[in-house]
């Protein structure tokens, strides 16, 4: 065993810090401070993406030949840590985190050439068309149909929970191309190079936090080229499973959780406990935050084991354990935050939450974000395979640990 943070890593850390301290614009910083979701405010996060691209850091996890950084796991962890310490908005994951790595793995040369640069540079934003109104946890039951017609497919049906589809200029999606066999068969993975095909309409859905983050996308005889297919026709399920590895897989989520905890600790310095002291000195607060901090630490240890190549990452349940821990810890951080700020979380401050708003918030930054962040994070145990489904998957592997 060893925990290697040699001096060359400290040099790297200094370089990262210097960049992250100077490169983001005030609007980008504001978007980070006002983050109440996995998905940062669109304009600012895309601007930040492009700045990172110019630095060569927009896709640290990609292979170097495709524009990745070639960083070691320790370097990637340091980058994530310093990034989150500064409350910078995380890049939207659909491009660099999902469809990009998929294309690198199994896209055609043409697809790579056509799409990877736009993803890397932050020129394109991709919507993810998976779920349908009747296909949530049971994704394989999807019904949105594509019928081959010459060099094209003609798509009919709808997709839902399509994050930021109203901002997207591209889309990847699963469609049904065959209904005769098992439901997992007959699914095809498609790339759409535009969102404005005739017959496509996007309806934003207002979320419980008041924001139109998710969308429904309708297809009425939408004709798209077959060249956008990834993998073979009817083999989209295995393509999606491949992508899922990237979607659920770890990396460095614990710095985000740790930063959330730190912000609660900061707020606790000036928030009265109701029992005569500030929260920070209150034993009950200390116990509660101690419990949460310890649990986040265990998740961090798990993540570091995984990135360092410990066999824990080879466990077939690894992605599900990772997703379950991360989502439930995120929710606990937000619950603790809303409880810490008490009734200051109750005003609805949609306008003040917008980057560049001209409205002064009613209280502190944390008062402002506590409730929408809590509400939005209820989705973390629902999306990307509900935690019930994850536990089903984990259970199947129990007793076969290394």
């Amino acid at each position: 065993m060893n925990i290697d943070f040699g001096s060359e890593l400290e040099t790297f850390r200094a370089e990262v810090c210097a960049f992250l301290d100077t490169a983001p614009t005030p609007a980008i910083r504001e978007a980070g401070r006002k983050l109440t979701s996995v998905f940062a405010q669109f304009d600012q996060v895309m601007e930040w993406h492009r700045i990172l691209y110019h630095q060569g850091w927009s896709a640290p996890h990609w292979p170097k030949e495709h524009g990745g950084t070639g960083w070691s796991v320790e370097q990637k962890y340091i980058f994530a840590e310093e990034y989150r310490k500064r409350d910078l908005p995380p890049l939207l994951p659909q491009g660099v985190g999902m469809v990009g790595p998929l294309l690198i793995d199994i896209g055609t040369e043409e697809q790579k050439a056509k799409y990877l640069p736009g993803i890397l540079k932050g020129e394109d934003f991709w919507a993810q068309g998976y779920s349908e109104p009747n296909s949530g946890s049971d994704l394989a039951s999807l019904q949105c149909r594509a019928v081959a017609d010459g060099d094209d497919y003609i798509i009919n049906g709808s997709k839902i929970w399509t994050t930021y589809a109203h901002h997207a200029n591209r889309m990847f999606m699963l469609v049904r191309t065959d209904s005769s066999g098992k439901k997992q068969q007959g699914i095809t993975f498609l790339l759409l190079d535009r969102m404005d095909y005739p017959g496509m309409t996007v309806r934003p859905i207002i979320g419980l936090d008041g924001f139109p983050e998710q969308c429904e996308v309708f297809f009425e005889d939408v004709r798209v080229p077959q060249s956008g297919r990834v993998g073979a026709e009817n083999d989209g399920w295995s393509v999606a499973k491949h992508l899922l590895k990237h979607e659920r897989g770890g990396g460095a989520q614990s710095p985000t959780l740790k930063r959330g905890l730190e912000r609660i600790r900061e707020a606790a310095q000036t928030t009265p406990s109701g029992f005569g002291t500030m929260l920070a000195e209150d034993p009950v607060f200390q116990r509660d935050i101690g419990e949460l901090e310890a649990d986040i630490a265990s998740f961090e240890h798990f993540e570091k084991l995984a990135v360092s190549g410990h066999p824990v990452a080879a466990d077939p349940a690894y992605p599900s354990i990772n997703k379950t821990m991360n989502s439930e810890l995120t929710q606990r951080v937000t619950v603790m935050l809303t409880q810490a700020v008490g009734n200051e979380a109750l005003p609805l401050q949609l306008e003040a939450l917008r980057v560049g708003a001209n409205v002064e918030p009613l209280g502190s930054d944390l008062d402002l974000i506590a409730m929408p962040w809590y509400l939005n994070s209820r989705a973390t145990t629902i999306y990307a395979g509900s935690n019930e489904v994850q536990r089903d998957l984990i259970a199947r592997t129990v007793g076969r640990e290394g």
Binding site: D138, I160, Q214, G274, T338, R378, I382
Partner: protein
Amino acid sequence: MDFTFSDEQQMLRDSVSAFLLKNYDFDRRNAIVRSDAGWSREVWQQFAKLGLLALPFAEDRGGLGGSMADLVAIAEPFGAHLLAEHYTASAMLGGAALALAGDGSPAAGWLDKVITGEAIAALAYEEGPGTPDPSLIQAVVERQGSGFSLSGEKRMVLGGGDADVLVVVARLEGALALFAVEPAVQGITIRPYATIDGRRAANIAFDTVAIPAEALILADAGDALRGVLDRAILALCAESVGAMGALLRQTAEYAATRKQFGVPIATFQAVAHRLADMKIAYTKARATLLYTTALIDTGRATPKDIAILKGQTGKLGRALGEAAIQTHGGVGMTDELSVSHLHKRILANDALLGNAEYHLRKVGVLA
């Protein structure tokens, strides 16, 4: 022992439910919440006609002398229907505080108008997070000439932006006192806003506000204020329990009809057990609500009893609401079903007048 509603209470409850079902369905409620005012004077006038605005007040003050059980009977449907109007703010908080004033005082005059629905009252009490405890109130009143001068800041005043009269809790010579203050007076700055659960509230700053002598409702008002707050807590909890019941019914129905993997999701044991836990939570919260109501109506409710009710309702309500959203999946995350709104109402009621954390700890402190 008997913890059921009387026939009269059941009739009252049924008539309020019927009124809301007819005039206050989810769509109409949302239209009201999204309107500029955020609440409906028309609904308010109907409430006056139904006698609801007079219900909490003593008969010799022009009220109907309703018991807490009467008020719980109507507050449960208010919660289930996500009422946006200022019933708790004006009748249970502001109005109840005005009723502490002597006959013939300005406050008593305001009370008449609150009962007829001509005026809205609000109680300016809490000052931010961590101040549910009266001992932490910092707003202060000093004698000035024949009257007073008031300074301080009140936050999350329910109905504070809509009130025709504010009852302000402030420290007078160390003790808590109540004053009836009109909002348009010099030195008062009101910042109104909507709340996450579709009500209207305000932060209100008082900067050396001159107040006439007759505005004093009660000096040394600690005990009387406690009585007002206790009854308001009962009403808030009844609302939340009503919202919990609605969530339980809607979630059970959704789970029985929503299919995944070819079967209703209620047939998955993980979902079934969550529904069972929701029912257990609802059963507990409602039992404590009804029991505490009987205690308060016989004058036997201790501070610990009130803390238990507020703490349990907040904690169980949060758990039930989160379970309801999880069971609904994506659609539970939207603004389009009432599920998320009911949960937010429960959360808001939890945060008002001390959240579950605060009250459950008080239960432990009180030996």
